[in-house]
Amino acid sequence: MGRLLSHRLAVPLVIALLVVALSFAMPSNFYYRVAALVWISALAVIGLNLLMGYAGQVSLGHAGFFGIGAYAVAVLPAQFGLHPLVAALLGAFATAALAFLVGRPILRLKGHYLAVATLGFGILIAMTISNEAWLTGGPDGMPVERLTLFGWRVRGADTWYWITGGLLVIGAWIACNLVASPTGRALRALHDSEVAARVAGIDVARAKLTVFVISAVYASVAGSTLALLNGFVTPDKANFLHSIELVTMVVLGGMGSVLGSLAGAAILVVLPQVLTGFHDYEHMILGLIMMVIMIVLRAGIVPSLAALFKGRWKK
């Protein structure tokens, strides 16, 4: 048990150390900004990984929840003069309520059927956002009021680096807590055998709904944070391509691995930045790297490498 408990704290600790250590290696604001984008994506990916990697339920609609969070901090302050933090909180509540409502019927579906239903649901949110231009600015997006905390205007890439890094550490800590708790064990159990989980007394429908709502809130908070960081929102962060990107990050980094979520997010956020130098070849290289990683490290980067090192260690 001691080992499990230490693992629960070790992962957020490693991430915290990484955030601190990397801050010494940032040559410019641009790097701070890219790192902040990685932390934000990783936060959403950790949430999705709780659903996919631990509970084994896929969602191709999480960008919709991300979009609700992002547009909450754009629309609510602009329309009702709410403080952005209150708006983010309301966005998270609205996301949780929506996930709770649609989760029950949707999560009765399994496998590819669940994938297509969540895809459809995500597309509904994205279409609403890009079509209701009177509220959201439509396809062009809308500006987001700058965040002010107790009279202090939050700005600068380095400031956002620390804020987003802090949020990531908290998100990782909560996720690791959940995984190591009775609820987490119930989720991992139903992933392996729903029948055995039910016989053990687990209300499988309820457990799935719980983790669906939690993961949706992760996406919403990440969306709000990104909108506040950018000072602008566009509907593309709510659309299905972003959903697929989030799922790809989960699988690339490793299903059921919080550190893997960070690795997956880092690769898909940083690679395109690096590859812009290759102009037209950017997509080819990105696609190639994705394929090679998945062929070589089938269980995802972190779990596969961990297994590899464990094997070496024993020899």
Partner: protein, 290 residues
């Protein structure tokens, strides 16, 4: 009434393309359990290769044939270089590989071709045919007829030829198929090649109506996937019906309700159907085996 007929014809035309993409999904899924998200790229390759070959002076029938062959080679390479090496990996891992392949092929098309929208001249001119008060483009008949021919050929292949039966046997039980001496790796490769050809034909037929560009694949793949699920995954009849239904829903939704929400309407119907029939329209109710 003429309006309804008009919407139905245009819906069925687009639906036939979705149906062919969904059929491609089904063939590969049955042979290998892989959900191939690069399926839409075959459609793109068919359209784009024909466009560029005809622009270079190749006669249309020859260009079309060449495009189908190119797609088949790409399909084979996809299987041999990306899917086969990852044999035994989990279904999600394989899906991400096909998404990577889709991004790669999109990037390749962007380099080999360009980033513009392209069209092809309609095969039999652009003079609409008047029918029941609706004006129908001759190309619509090409698309619908082409889809019907493909479905008929596939039916004959699976029911009348030994190789086709081997594919069906592999779909039913891979281990048993291997035990009776079927080369399942060959069957999987074949399924990729066939799906690629079907996708390419769809792309060639529909390009005069809908245009094509390097990035049309992803959306088509998603629509085709949704159509396949609506019909019931793994069921070829379901794929065709699902594809036509999604096309019809979009056209009717766009015509009568809202053109900006046409995708949403199709997906709302899909959600309602799946809530009622969790295995799709033609899916079997499964009994839990423990």
């Amino acid at each position: 009434m003429p309006e309804l007929l008009q919407f139905c014809v245009s819906g069925l035309t687009v639906g036939a393309v979705y149906a062919l993409v969904a059929l491609g999904f089904t063939i590969i899924y049955n042979a290998s359990d892989v959900v191939n998200f690069a399926q839409g790229e075959f459609v793109m390759i068919g359209g784009m290769t024909t466009v560029f070959a005809t622009a270079a002076g190749v006669p249309l029938p020859l260009a079309a044939l060449g495009a189908v062959l190119v797609a088949m080679v790409v399909g084979l390479l996809l299987h041999r270089l990306a899917i086969e090496p990852a044999r035994g990996a989990s279904p999600v891992t394989l899906i991400i590989i096909t998404i990577g392949a889709s991004i790669f092929l999109r990037g390749l098309a962007q380099v080999v071709f360009d980033k513009q929208f392209h069209s092809l001249p309609a095969f039999s001119g652009n003079t609409p045919i008047r029918f029941g008060g609706a004006a129908i483009l001759p190309q619509s008949f090409w698309v619908l007829g082409g889809a019907a021919v493909i479905v008929a050929v596939l039916w004959a292949f699976f029911n009348r030829t030994l190789i086709g039966k081997a594919v069906l046997a592999t779909a039913a039980n891979r281990l048993a198929a291997r035990l009776v001496g079927i080369n399942t790796s060959f069957v999987m490769g074949l399924s990729f090649v066939m799906s690629a050809a079907i996708g390419a034909v769809a792309g060639i037929l529909v390009t005069p109506i809908t245009l094509t560009s390097y990035d049309v694949g992803m959306l088509l793949a998603l629509k085709g996937f949704a159509a396949a699920m609506l019909g019931g995954m793994g069921n070829p009849l379901g794929a065709v019906v699902g594809g036509l239904a999604v096309g019809l829903l979009e056209a009717l939704g766009a015509g009568y309700i809202s053109s900006t929400y046409k995708d949403a309407i199709a997906f709302i119907v899909i959600l309602i159907v799946l809530f009622a029939l969790p295995g799709g329209l033609f899916g079997k109710a499964s009994v839990e085996r423990v």
